[in-house]
Amino acid sequence: MADYGGYTGKILRVNLSNEQITEESIEPYLPYLGGMGLGYRVMWNEVPAGTDPFEPENRVIVATGPLAGTGAPSSGRTNITSLLPSNPYRAVADSHMGGYFSTELKYAGWDAIIIQGRASRPVWLRIENDQVSIQDARRLWGKGTFDTIAMVTAMMGKTAQVAAIGPAGENQVNLSVIRTGSSHSAGGHGGIFGSKNLKAIGVLGDGAVHIKGERSEWLRADREMMQVIGANNQHVVPSTPQPWAEYHDPASRWTARDGLYWGAADPPVETENCEAGDVNRIGYRTQKGVKDHGPVAEEYTVKMGGCSACPIRCHSNLRVPQLEEYGYSANVSNTCMGYFSPGGVMVKGFFDTGVEREGPFIARTLGSQIADDLGLWFNYGQMGRDFAYAYDNGILQRVLPAAEYNEIPWDLLEAGDPRWMIDFFDRLAYKKGEISHFADGAYWIAERWNFGDDYWNSAKVKLWSPLGFPVHHSNESNGQVGALISCMFNRDAQSHTHQNFLFSGLPVSLTKEIAGELWGDPSAVDEPQNYTPMNRYKAVFAKWSIIRNVLHDSLSLCNWIWPMAASPLKERNYRGNTALESIFYSLATGIEKSEDELDLDAERVFTLHRALTVKQMGTTDMRNRHDGIVSWVFEKDPEKEPFTPGTIKLEREDMELAKTMLYEEMGWHSETGAPTRATLERLGMTDVADELASLNLLPT
């Protein structure tokens, strides 16, 4: 391979069936950048349509991007690509985890690991620089993720990074995770590791990631980044009025303020008013414990944690002594849905401790510990709503065998006792009984238990797609823009590009101004809950949001922080710098690319995802077979018309127009939404076009 920076140049391939370990060059994958893009290309090349996710022929690609390990801000993400068992077509999808795994993998000299086959016995993969071996995992098998990570770390050394599955992954539960560090989980692919008898990967490296560009240029880019970066989710205003700030937003994750502490630190640490531009206090801006749990969490907060090279610490490290009463460690760490999703199964409320919000706090932190240890995933909160639907509608009495139903401690659930989660999650992770099918995923459980239209069409259930994935910054986020983004993937959309920008905390007048500069017209952005009909600029905004998300997952950048569309700086009139990705990429690799050129690479990656989906679903009719939206989105608030103040309801014809406009922006077939030969060739994927043509899957 040419002498690039950023990349190590090497991919590790591990065939667990014959225990062959080989090395190959990353060169053929460079047009796909790395991470997600590399994963899609491997899946396209090597996994035939119709492959079951749990068959040895499936691949799981654990991949970094060229910015992992360089120290570029917020570059700690690891991308995992494989077939997704919870998807009805078992279509390709990505899961991602933060932490330090990708950085360590780069230090060990590897850009990615391609894993195939199935080991004849439980194994774990040991990577120490270029020494790679398949190790016996019989002592690890059956262990929770905390013990597994601790045991591998004990064998490899305390600076090793470990990714592991829990019992849920071992048992090939559809909704299971691969976990690393103390709190970073990649949801959806734990069972793939389990199907390959792969319990964990341990990585230890003592190399470095070299950058090609001038160090002074790198430092300049880094300094600019430290000026334009905000808080978690790139919120650029504080949550309370502060002397330095022109604006504030109570919903902002920039929660630091005078009088707010990491209360369990010794001595307690005051977050203080953290001014924009004060680079030494960026890590204090987000007091995520209080943001996630309310004021009750302040006294339990030890500090904020996070990922490699990220100045924004968005994982709250808490010490909750009450958890020991349930047999779990008092030390718990997580963020956002990592707390809310497991706690979502407490559908009858929470016990009352006498302290405001302490009951939910203890339950959610406990739920996080149990779920993380078992390696369970909750489909971005969907499982709790699935459970509520089934429980409240008496479905469980119908579908569970009487003996099973009678042994389940429903009294704990009814009392809001968090011990309910200990019992319930155990059944899910070990596939105990009929009730364990909740962890098959929304589509499969609805099929199995014959859920009615009221399930699919309920705003309360919050499903987005007939394929069984939930709302994730969808029509509540700029109407058609969030809706389009939510239709495009094979699981819940994990795009925060649009979300971060729309809810940065700036006044909508400023947001619209910036939108006009970035996407052609201020009408790309609507006021919240006061939408206008579809226009071309919204399609441009949606496309940009998707491909920047894909870009970040291909470079190892965190899409919960990037891109820098806005900034907290009044002197910049709150503008950010959307070229920073290309600046860091060019400096790291030595491959000079403009912002537009890098966006084109990301467009290639996402079009390959679309082509993979077409191939795996066996149809070009993406508009109707893949990009569908459940009915509540169009029927919510029956007393209101779409595009009137106070509703996020959309209009069916308008939404079809929105799809057409996005397809056109992507260069896809305007009726079906499938990639055309012309676009595939424009993006350098003639071989993909040829294969689709041979399968009669190119639109005419």
């Binding site: 002397p243 303020r257 909508v508 106070g646 996020i648």
Partner: protein
């Protein structure tokens, strides 16, 4: 209410000499000290009232005060904001006009005026409904019982008839100004962040 004094200054109003003539060097020096004093106050996150400037260690004679403040206001960053009891000065290098405006209300203990102004600003500028619970935190620091009284008094005054107090289905109280924001939009936004999508907003 807010003013930037430098360009709007009426030269005939000063004591520094004849109209249209720059202030004398001595006055400029003292005015510069006044400006520095105001900046120090702003750095400490507080306003400098006219009275405070007069009583500051600079010991400015009352008859010179307006003129000196006028001259100090010629500096790029020095701004003023009028309250009902006094005029207040701040440096926008260290304090935003929005925060200065809010601080005047708090300084003068005009909590109802502050609350109404905040709600109207939220509805007009962003637009968004205002969660009542935000007033418990810094810099407002209003006690729960006091807030109940304030919210009740909103209803009693015609001047505040544009302000609507409403509850989401989980019982959270919000306010919005009908003058600047459609009530349905305000209610839907509050409901989304409290009940329908609380993970994102809480």
């Amino acid at each position: 209410m807010l003013g930037r004094r430098r360009n709007e200054a009426d030269p005939t109003n000063g004591t520094a000499g004849a109209a249209n003539e720059p202030p004398a060097a001595a006055e400029r020096n003292l005015a510069s000290e006044v400006a520095d004093y105001i900046r120090r106050c702003s750095e400490e996150h507080r306003l400098a009232s006219r009275i405070e400037v007069a009583q500051s260690p600079l010991s400015i004679p009352d008859e010179d005060l307006d003129s000196l403040l006028e001259t100090a206001g010629l500096q790029e960053d020095i701004r003023s904001v009028e309250g009902t009891k006094d005029v207040y000065y701040f440096s926008d290098r260290h304090m935003s006009p929005a925060f200065a405006k809010l601080t005047v209300r708090l300084e003068e203990n005009d909590l109802l005026g502050m609350l109404v102004e905040q709600v109207r600003d939220d509805s007009r500028i962003y637009p968004r409904p205002t969660p009542a619970r935000q007033f418990y935190n810094a810099p407002y620091r209003i006690e729960k019982e006091q807030l109940v009284t304030l919210l009740a008094s909103l209803k009693a005054d015609e001047e505040y008839e544009d302000i609507e107090l409403f509850e989401t289905t989980n019982g959270a109280q919000y306010l919005a100004s009908r003058k600047f924001m459609h009530p349905d939009q305000a209610k839907a936004m509050a409901q989304l962040q409290e009940v329908e999508d609380p993970e994102r907003f809480f």
